[in-house]
């Protein structure tokens, strides 16, 4: 069976912040429907890599293609030119992101948080946007809170709404940036539950996480990163249980010691 | 007459007046620093009437224009037999005005010193005065330096108000020269440039201070 074009294609990605090299040459493909987990120690560059996918970070070098379209840059003849803000926004609308600190809009109600994108960016009708929002709220188990404001909600509740907000844009791809790292332990489960459901429905997901058992059970591919490079990539079993690379093994050992 | 020629003709007088302005600002700053300290101490004292008096002082001097305060010091006090020169009245008025702001700056500086430090010093048995001298004050001083700098810059600009009670400052000199050379716009622009030359380096300095003391 021929492999279709990857939904996400990362080629030769380098990213430096000043003199600090955070990504040192990343090549990665993500197929439609795949769930990829990025794991690794702090400073390994996994969050930076994720943020390059929707161009929240501008690569120092390298290309990223979303559904075969170059993101953040345009090819004019043979030179690469920065993409216009409008074009970039259009591409970003098709990629959903869930942040570690939720980043819900505090001055808007839960419902308004979710319908804002469909209304103002996708120009959908209010009735349609509200209907979809309510469906999503049901899906993440937060329908009762539709008129509440973010500050009245717990972290786990806010994050579930953040996921609904991202899904409201009907993205092709969902990026999770340590979605549960800022949550109290007892609230982590409810968010992972939503992510798991999403995975089962076939969403393409790139997940940066410290939740190893979750990564193991949900992912098709696990990527272990350290010092700005991909050290090892493979199915969960290979990374978590059968790795032949010492660096990977010592990391897995260290995190499972808890 | 172009700017060059005008400057040639007037710069001696303008710079002399600028010097007077600097003296006025400096004098007012000194008065403000001293009176402000008294007001701050009263504000933080244990005596309720003293605290009330300090609060009223601050409220009145921050709630009324500096110009009105200068009027009162210069004109009204004559009724009780006190007559200051316009220069003195300006220095006193501006100084008392600055004192209200400075006292709040002192208070903020003292309160910004983390309580934990004071408690730690007391816990090792340091007497109260020593705590003040060695723990609180050095830090408070670092915190207040930049805000005091900002007050100084404001004072420099506020001295222009003294011209309205005919105190011999830069703006008054500009007024005189305007009637001599009939080029008010050019003269006031030159004067503006002089004020800028005095204030801008100060504000750069204060900004440097702010950056340093943020650590």
């Amino acid at each position: 069976m021929a492999e279709s074009t990857p939904l996400v294609r990362i080629e030769g990605l380098y990213k430096s912040f000043g003199s600090l090299d955070v990504l040192k040459g990343i090549d990665l493909n993500v197929q439609q429907g795949q769930k990829i987990s990025l794991i690794g120690p702090s400073g390994s560059g996994k969050t930076t890599l994720l943020r390059c996918v929707n161009y929240l970070e501008e690569p120092t070098r390298g290309d990223i293609y979303i559904d075969n379209e170059l993101i953040g840059q345009r090819l004019v003849g043979s030179t690469k030119v920065p993409m216009s803000d409008k074009e970039l926004a259009r591409m970003r609308a098709e990629i959903g992101m869930v942040f570690q600190r939720f980043n819900l809009f505090p001055h808007l109600s839960v419902l308004d948080n979710i319908i804002l994108g469909p209304l103002k960016v996708q120009q959908r009708s209010r009735a349609e946007a509200v209907e979809q929002a309510e469906d999503l709220l049901n899906k993440v188990g937060m329908f009762a809170k539709r008129d509440a404001f973010p500050e009245q909600l717990s972290g786990g509740q806010q994050q579930r709404i953040a996921i609904a907000r991202a899904l409201a844009m009907q993205p092709k791809l969902m990026l999770f940036d340590e979605a549960t790292s800022a949550l109290d332990p007892e609230l982590v489960g409810e968010v992972l539950g939503v992510m798991r459901k999403l995975a089962e429905e076939g969403m393409t997901m790139i997940i940066v996480t410290h939740e190893m058992s979750f990564a193991e059970s949900v992912s098709d591919q696990v990527i272990f990163m350290a010092d700005g490079n991909i050290v090892e990539q493979g199915p969960p079993r290979q990374i978590f249980r059968e790795s032949r690379i010492e660096r990977t093994r010592s990391f897995i050992r260290a995190v499972q010691e808890h | 007459m172009g700017y060059g020629e005008l400057w040639e003709a007037t710069h001696v007088e303008l710079l002399a007046a600028a010097w007077a302005t600097l003296q006025l600002a400096f004098g007012a700053l000194v008065i403000g620093l001293l009176v402000g300290l008294l007001v701050a101490l009263a504000r933080l004292s244990k005596s309720r009437p003293l605290r009330r008096a300090a609060l009223m002082y601050i409220e009145v001097f921050r709630g009324t224009p500096a110009l009105v305060q200068l009027f009162i010091v210069y004109f009204s006090l004559t009724e009780i037999g006190v007559q200051f020169s316009s220069f003195q009245a300006a220095m006193i008025g501006l100084g008392l005005n600055a004192a209200a702001y400075l006292s709040e700056i002192y208070r903020a500086g003292l309160e910004a010193v983390p309580k934990g430090q004071v408690e730690a010093a007391q816990a090792i048995g340091m007497p109260h005065l020593k705590v003040l001298r060695w723990v609180v004050l050095p830090q408070a001083i670092r915190i207040v330096l930049a805000p005091i700098g900002n007050v100084a810059i404001s004072l420099l600009k506020d001295t222009s108000v003294a011209s309205l009670i005919a105190a011999p400052d830069l703006m008054l000199r500009a007024q005189d020269l305007s009637s001599v050379y009939f080029m008010p716009l050019e003269i006031y622009i030159l004067v503006g440039a002089i004020y800028f030359a005095l204030c801008y380096p100060l504000s750069l300095g204060v900004r440097l201070l702010e950056r340093r003391t943020r650590h």
Partner: protein, 226 residues
């Protein structure tokens, strides 16, 4: 010293004084309000210029700020006043005053706006971008509404300072409060009473302003807490 005849004379003139000063106070409030509006609109533009990615715009705004913040406002008023007559524009003195205070105030407010925009967490903008908002849409719908609430204390402080600064317009014969007071003093020589009333009226006006600002801030917080 406290001649009872003189005291009675002064008290008799009280209604007259309050009348004249009252009119002056209205002018002062009107002048303050008009200048505040000018300063807010222009200051907002300046803040956006400072924050823009265009180095040229940012530089222009910075230069504007430095000039207007390092020259006394009285000097600025005079330059404007004479400058306008120079280019042949005859404005009533109060018009020049509104422009002068507005231009100066814009420099001050632009810093208030700029810092309040910067206090809004970057995560908010990033979340907005991630749902496909352009920079300007994100600014309009997400950052500015939040920044506005943060800016209110700064704007209130500015307004009170502006109210006091309008006393300088008396030098240009604008018939505001201080000018009226000076007029009354030269008319009646009741220096103490008149300047006392003058100070009182400013005090009352600034207290009203600060209470009103505190109430507005509180009301905005309540509205959020639906």
């Amino acid at each position: 010293m406290f001649d009872s005849i003189a005291l009675n004379k002064a008290i008799d003139m009280l209604p007259y004084f309050l009348n004249v000063l009252g009119i002056g106070a209205l002018t002062t409030v009107g002048l303050t309000f008009a200048a505040f509006v000018v300063a807010t609109l222009l200051g907002f533009c300046l803040a956006l210029m400072r924050l823009s990615r265009s180095r040229v715009l940012s530089l222009i705004a910075s230069v504007y700020l430095e000039v207007f913040r390092n020259v006394p406002i009285l000097t600025q008023l005079f330059i404007l006043y004479f400058g306008l007559t120079y280019i042949g524009i005859t404005l009533p003195a109060i018009g020049a005053a509104i422009i002068g205070f507005g231009l100066n105030g814009a420099a001050i407010l632009s810093e208030v706006f700029r810092s309040s925009i910067r206090t809004i967490d970057r995560g908010q903008s990033e979340a907005a971008y991630s749902i496909g908002m352009t920079r300007s849409l994100a600014m309009r719908m997400i950052v500015l509404p939040q920044a506005f609430k943060v800016a209110i204390p700064g704007m209130a402080n500015f307004a009170i300072g502006l109210l006091k600064d309008t006393s300088l317009a008396s030098a240009a014969a604008v018939p505001e409060l201080t000018f009226k007071a000076r007029m009354l003093v030269s008319e009646t020589y009741q220096t103490n009473l008149i300047y006392f009333l003058l100070a009182m009226i400013y005090l009352i006006l600034s207290l009203i302003l600060s209470h009103w600002a505190a109430r507005t801030e509180r009301r905005l917080k309540v509205v959020k807490e639906h």
